[in-house]
């Protein structure tokens, strides 16, 4: 197990290096002079020079890169000139909200998706199955910003059942405030989850041990919960793991719709206000987060796999 973890970590290292190179070069994609973009057209040469010094762009490129990555192990991600805060402080304060939102969304997707997939797989090619499939085609094409906005308009503003924005405080407040955003996120992911889960459930139901269980005469409910669903769990975990990167991306839009103070909404605002260093720092955080998630899913999968350590 330890060897597996070490090997996977070693494979992830070049990718990590690549992530730092990409995010580092982001600031150099800015057309024109970043210092002038920050300071405005009427800035004096002295001010421009001092901003360049603060941004560190008055040094040679390699020195800049070294400065950038040497700060990372100590958690130095840069400074937001507009929010007057370090990026690391912002991330520490706002990342938990985003992670909470994504986990909440995954949970809702599972609660909605598992029964749908089960019904659809058990009654394969029935009217219900076709109904579910048709709904999924529509679900796949739902823009999350639109469905989120409709939920706000109808459930929050018209009926007043839910708050229209913000993240609330405390666990109950979080669950309450983030229900609509999490539901929106879940809906954008539901189609993919149900499609894959249905396929793997059907696969499990065609196996010999399920036929044996049927022959032994166990009850329907026991068959589905103990034998079928349990074996479809590993593919379900894989589907969710593979899509966490997508969900993090989707959370950016959802946070923006519901004005939730997570890292996604911060990224959008940073982009809109041209806070380049903040954009750079947040992109790096997202990249590292996905890398860690992929690594964890890989290791969990290997641990769950009955064949043991397959590379």
């Amino acid at each position: 197990m330890r060897r597996l973890i070490l090997r996977r970590a070693a494979q992830a290292l070049p990718v990590l290096l690549g992530i730092t190179v990409v995010t580092f070069s982001m600031v150099h994609l800015v057309p024109g002079d970043p210092a002038r973009a920050l300071a405005g057209q009427r800035a004096t040469p002295q001010i421009l020079a001092s901003i360049r010094h603060q941004l560190g762009i008055d040094k040679p490129l390699l020195a800049q890169y070294w400065h950038f990555i040497s700060g990372l192990p100590r958690g130095k991600l840069g400074y937001s000139f507009l929010l007057h805060q370090t990026t690391d402080a912002l991330v520490l304060a706002r990342l938990p909200t985003t992670l909470f939102l994504v986990s909440y969304g995954v949970l809702i997707a599972i609660v909605l998706g598992v029964p749908l997939a089960l019904v659809s797989a058990v009654r394969k090619e029935s009217l219900i199955d076709h109904g579910v499939k048709g709904t999924l085609v529509v679900g796949l094409g739902l823009p999350s910003f639109w469905i989120g906005l409709l939920l706000v308009g109808f459930l929050a503003l018209r009926l007043g059942w839910f708050p229209a924005g913000g993240a609330g405080s405390g666990l109950i407040g979080h669950l309450w405030h983030l229900f609509l955003p999490a539901l929106t996120l879940a809906l954008s992911f539901l189609a993919v989850l149900v499609r894959n889960l249905r396929a793997s459930l059907i696969e499990v139901m065609d196996t010999d041990f399920v036929s044996l269980a049927v022959l032994k005469g166990i009850s329907r409910s026991r068959l589905y919960t103990r034998h079928v669903l349990r074996n479809a769990l590993i593919p379900a975990v894989t589907i969710i793991g593979l899509n966490l990167s997508y969900l993090l991306g989707a959370s950016v839009v959802v946070e923006s719709v519901f004005s939730v103070d997570g890292v996604g909404n911060t990224l959008v605002n940073a982009v809109l206000s041209r806070d380049y260093q903040l954009v750079q720092g947040l992109a790096l955080v997202f990249g590292v987060l996905v890398l860690l998630i992929t690594l964890t899913v890989d290791i969990i999968q290997a641990a769950l796999s009955p064949r043991g350590e397959v590379a």
Binding site: V15, L29, V137, V138, G141, S245, R274, A283
Partner: protein, 305 residues
């Protein structure tokens, strides 16, 4: 059972070219057997929906008598009715006209994003898979790094750094989205490299360009094509999302995502501002999905025979 086994005189075998020179797939006969039953129905629905969207985009001026950008403060925020099918926005602009005209820009965005990624990704995938070695390793490491970011995060960041606008959107998506095609095509190429007909083509001393273009490409192109047809859904949603965030198409050009954003402040009472452009996205996305599923089924059928 051949004829000889049943005690009958063996029939002369029909004349057949050397087996190694036959190239499978992408022949009309492999694609012609049309879909049947439910798959056929959903493909038809998809094509019909897409036809409606495409025709309204092309004939927008004929379908709507109103201008999509003309201001008319007297008729601001009118509910959907006989005069304005989809109602009007806060400036009195006709939502129906704007939704119909927006189909133009949204379709162009979706198709150009997908075709750019398709062309670049397929070309690089063929090169990587064919050349192997260092070139392959470098390209695949780039793919790994690009996939390490949430797609939307990378696109938004690049758009933001270049400054909002349609061109930035094209640049940002082109920089990233080719990797999906490259990875797909590369693995196909690596499987086909040592196929008999490829060896035959190489042995015939054809130029590399001819081997790749005439013999390899027709056989690896099906997978990325099928992928591209479902990718249209994502490209459509991506373009609309980025514009919704205010980073893509800029006003006053009507675009669905941006129209949803425009109406968001009125969502409590004047729901129609955001509802109809969003519904147009869903209809178009469903059309793309159904067509994509149909093409995937066709490809499966084609490769099965």
């Amino acid at each position: 059972m051949t004829a000889a086994h049943r005690g009958l005189p063996a029939q002369p075998r029909p004349p057949q070219g050397p087996r190694i020179l036959r190239r499978p797939v992408l022949r009309a006969s492999a694609v012609v057997p049309f879909l049947r039953g439910r798959e056929r129905t959903s493909m038809m629905i998809g094509l019909a929906l897409f036809g409606i969207v495409l025709l309204s985009a092309v004939f927008a001026p004929l379908i709507s008598t109103y201008s999509p950008t003309a201001l008319n403060p007297v008729a601001a925020l009118q509910a959907p009715g006989a005069a304005h099918f989809f109602g009007t926005d806060q400036f009195g602009r006709d939502i129906f006209a704007r939704t119909v005209y927006a189909a133009r820009i949204d379709l162009i965005i979706a198709f150009s994003l997908v075709s750019t990624a398709f062309v670049i990704g397929t070309a690089l995938g063929v090169v990587a898979g064919w050349a192997g070695g260092v070139l392959d390793s470098i390209l695949m490491r780039i793919v790994d790094v690009a996939l390490a970011f949430p797609f939307l995060v990378l696109v938004i960041s690049i758009v933001g750094l270049r400054g909002p606008g349609l061109f930035s959107l094209y640049v940002a998506v082109s920089v990233v989205s080719w990797v999906f095609y490259a990875r797909l095509v590369r693995s196909e190429v690596r499987q086909l490299r040592h196929a008999e007909y490829m060896l035959a083509a190489k042995a015939s001393d054809y130029s590399t360009l001819r081997v790749l273009g005439r013999h390899l490409l027709p056989n690896v192109i099906i997978q990325p094509l099928v992928y591209a047809s479902s990718d249209l859904v994502y490209a459509l949603l991506l373009g609309a999302s980025v514009s919704y965030l205010g980073l893509g198409v800029q006003p006053p050009t009507p675009e669905w995502g941006q129209m949803v954003q425009d109406g968001s402040t009125f969502i409590g009472a004047q729901w129609w501002l955001s509802f109809f452009p969003g519904a147009a996205i869903v209809v178009t996305a469903v059309a793309f999905s159904l067509i994509g599923d149909g093409l995937a089924a066709l490809a499966r059928e084609g490769s099965a025979r």
